[in-house]
């Protein structure tokens, strides 16, 4: 039987290959889609759970250089500054529980430092901070001092618990939990430490000329609002921020909704593409096996005459399809994992979002789901051809001419 299955596949090489390819492609799209979608949803959920700031006050003109989702999800990507007095102005707002400023330093790379890849330097006010405390622990933040750093979960280049920044060694006192954002590749230090590193930075002089000495500047202010009175707190916080004259508010929940909406349309498109591909694969499978049974009527009738039961012939046809679909699924899953990186890259080009890759168990569940879908789809496409087999009449072998 195996031999006859392989023979039939060989007989229809081109057709078989094209079916296996289209199964592989649709499996690939589904797997890629599932992995990325799952990763993004997990990331969004994580960043919501981790809370952090409800509102971020950023320099008024910052949004000219950088998008809001980017600011929220990419940590501290830009050299944007405003006077530190803004912290006190905002702090008094009703319903604002905590206020803490941050200072964005430069992006570090292996040229200057022991870090690997692009790493951002962020200064926090250790006395008021609640964002990094939530990710790395309050004790760690308290232990920062002027030669300590807390690293993001994806920061590389830590040796012996120390990290080198511009020839200066810093002790790593803590690691932040994974956030799925660029925050994971950030290094956090005391705000004054980062200010003094930046002060002497080549190429940054024009910022200090424009805004004044770094010691009097902040890049953003993180606000934690009273959850029980959120709407009222939000209104008064927004008003205070706008009143300050130098800052604009970024409301986390609004940004999350916005980025969700953006991603939703992208994913909807992908889902439609995946479904279309699956339908194409189904039609192809159907056409292939329908015509296969039809074209091979004489051959199959002969097999009936020489001892094959209907069930045997069904196994023959189903086995043929099993090989095609099986190969397609295996290849598709592998390609899906590869394409995941590519799709993420494309999405990240245009959108900012947190991403936490699916774990092995979740990936496996996803693969299983895709496999089940395709097994069902192929079972569906083969029902009719298999029924045709029931109508084959073994006595035609006695009556008809040669078999091609």
């Amino acid at each position: 039987m195996k031999q006859l299955i392989m023979h039939s596949l060989k007989m229809h090489k081109v057709q078989s290959a094209s079916i296996a390819v289209s199964v592989a492609l649709s499996v690939m799209i589904l797997v890629t889609f599932g992995l990325v979608y799952g990763g993004v949803m997990q990331g969004v959920q994580k960043s919501e759970e981790q809370g952090g700031a409800d509102v971020m006050a950023i320099p008024k003109d910052a949004l000219q250089y950088i998008g809001d989702t980017e600011l929220l999800y990419t940590g501290a990507p830009a050299a944007v500054y405003m006077p530190a007095e803004v912290v006190d102005k905002i702090g008094g707002a009703e319903g604002v529980v905590r206020v803490s400023p941050q200072f964005f330093g430069q992006t570090l790379n292996s040229g200057c430092c022991s870090t690997t890849g692009e790493t951002r330097l962020i200064g926090i006010d250790t006395t008021t901070d609640f964002v990094v405390s939530g990710l790395a622990g309050a004790d760690q933040v308290a232990a920062l001092g002027d030669h300590g750093v807390i690293v993001g979960s994806a920061v590389g280049g830590v040796f012996n618990n120390t990290i080198k920044i511009y020839n200066e060694e810093y002790q790593v006192v803590g690691t932040m939990a994974e956030t799925g954002t660029e925050f994971d590749s950030s290094i956090v230090a005391d705000i004054d430490v980062v200010r003094s590193i930046s002060r002497n930075m080549e190429g940054y002089e024009h910022y200090w000329e424009k805004h004044g000495d770094p010691s009097g500047l902040v890049s953003c202010v993180m606000l934690d609002l009273d959850d029980d009175n959120f709407d009222a707190a939000l209104t008064s916080a927004n008003a205070k921020i706008n009143l300050s004259g130098v800052a604009s508010p970024l409301v986390r929940s609004q940004i999350v909704d916005k980025s969700r909406a953006q991603l939703k349309s992208v994913f909807l498109l992908l889902l439609v593409a995946a479904c279309l591909m699956a339908v194409v694969a189904l039609l192809q499978l159907f056409a292939r096996f329908f015509s296969s049974v039809w074209d091979r009527k004489s051959e199959l009738a002969l097999y009936r005459a020489i001892g094959a039961s209907k069930a045997d012939l069904r196994k023959l046809i189903a086995g043929e399809m099993g090989v095609l679909v099986g190969c397609g699924i295996v290849v598709g899953i592998i390609l899906g994992f590869v394409a995941q990186t590519a799709l993420l890259g494309v999405l990240r080009d245009g959108l900012s979002f947190p991403y936490v890759a699916l774990g092995p168990a979740q990936s496996f569940a996803l693969e299983l789901a895709v496999v089940i879908v395709f097994v069902l789809v192929s079972a569906l496409s083969i029902i009719w051809p298999l029924r045709q087999i029931g109508r084959l009449d073994p006595s035609t072998a006695m009556q008809q001419g040669d078999i091609d």
């Binding site: 004489s298 051959e299 005459a305 020489i306 209907k310 009449d393 073994p394 072998a397 040669d402």
Partner: protein, 221 residues
């Protein structure tokens, strides 16, 4: 004990009566020839006897009394496989399979065998003088060679009864003799042979000759 007992089977196609109630029994070693004018129903009768075609009425008993027509598809297929080897009127070789693959095809549906079907296929093809043609496709074979491949296929699973529908048709005398000799030799090993033929000489080699009378086949003796 009869290998096969055909009791009063009849068949009509589209209201036209082709075979009227025909009965006969087949024992090991039996050689039965069926002759009748062209288009009168030899192939139809052999199809029914070989359990390929269901008669409109009558009974077919196998294994000393089992009613073959009441079996389900699976059991019937197994029975067909074990009991019969067919040599069809038009050879019915699969064009995309090589000679040896055509011969081993029945093994693909026979489950586990206590012999190697490829070895047996080779033996048979060599025995029929086709050692040079094992890997040829049917289109590359002569009519006589194809017929010999078809006989080899019929004998592959050592059936108890060989049913051959005009096995020597279209063959020159020498090829016809090779094919006929192979079939008779197989029957001589304690198997049975049923065949249809127009050839009087071939018909004469049968132990029993069945001729058509009033649309029923009856023994000529």
């Amino acid at each position: 004990m009869a290998l096969l007992e055909v009791k009063g089977i009849a068949k009509s196609f589209d209201g036209a009566e082709i075979i009227r109630a025909t009965s006969f029994a087949v024992e090991p070693g039996d050689i039965v020839a069926f002759t009748s004018p062209s288009g009168s129903g030899k192939s139809t009768l052999l199809s029914m006897a070989g359990l390929l075609l269901t008669p409109d009425s009558g009974q077919i008993l196998v294994d000393g009394g089992v009613d073959a027509l009441s079996l389900d598809d699976k059991a019937l297929s197994r029975l067909r496989q074990r009991l019969f080897g067919f040599v069809f009127q038009s050879t019915q070789l699969v064009g995309s399979l090589r000679a040896i693959e055509n011969v081993t095809a029945p093994a693909g549906f026979a489950g586990k065998l206590d012999f190697d079907p490829v070895e047996r296929a080779k033996e048979l093809l060599v025995q029929f003088g086709l050692e040079e043609r094992l890997y040829h496709y049917p289109a590359q074979l002569s009519v006589g060679q194809k017929r010999r491949v078809a006989v080899a296929r019929a004998l592959l699973l050592n059936p108890q009864i060989v049913i051959a529908d005009e096995p020597t048709n279209d063959l020159d005398e020498e090829s016809a003799n090779t094919v006929a000799d192979a079939l008779f030799a197989y029957a001589a090993q304690g198997h049975a042979l049923l065949y249809a033929t127009h050839d009087a000489a071939l018909a004469a080699r049968a132990k029993t000759l069945m001729v058509m009378k009033d649309k029923a086949f009856v023994s000529a003796s």
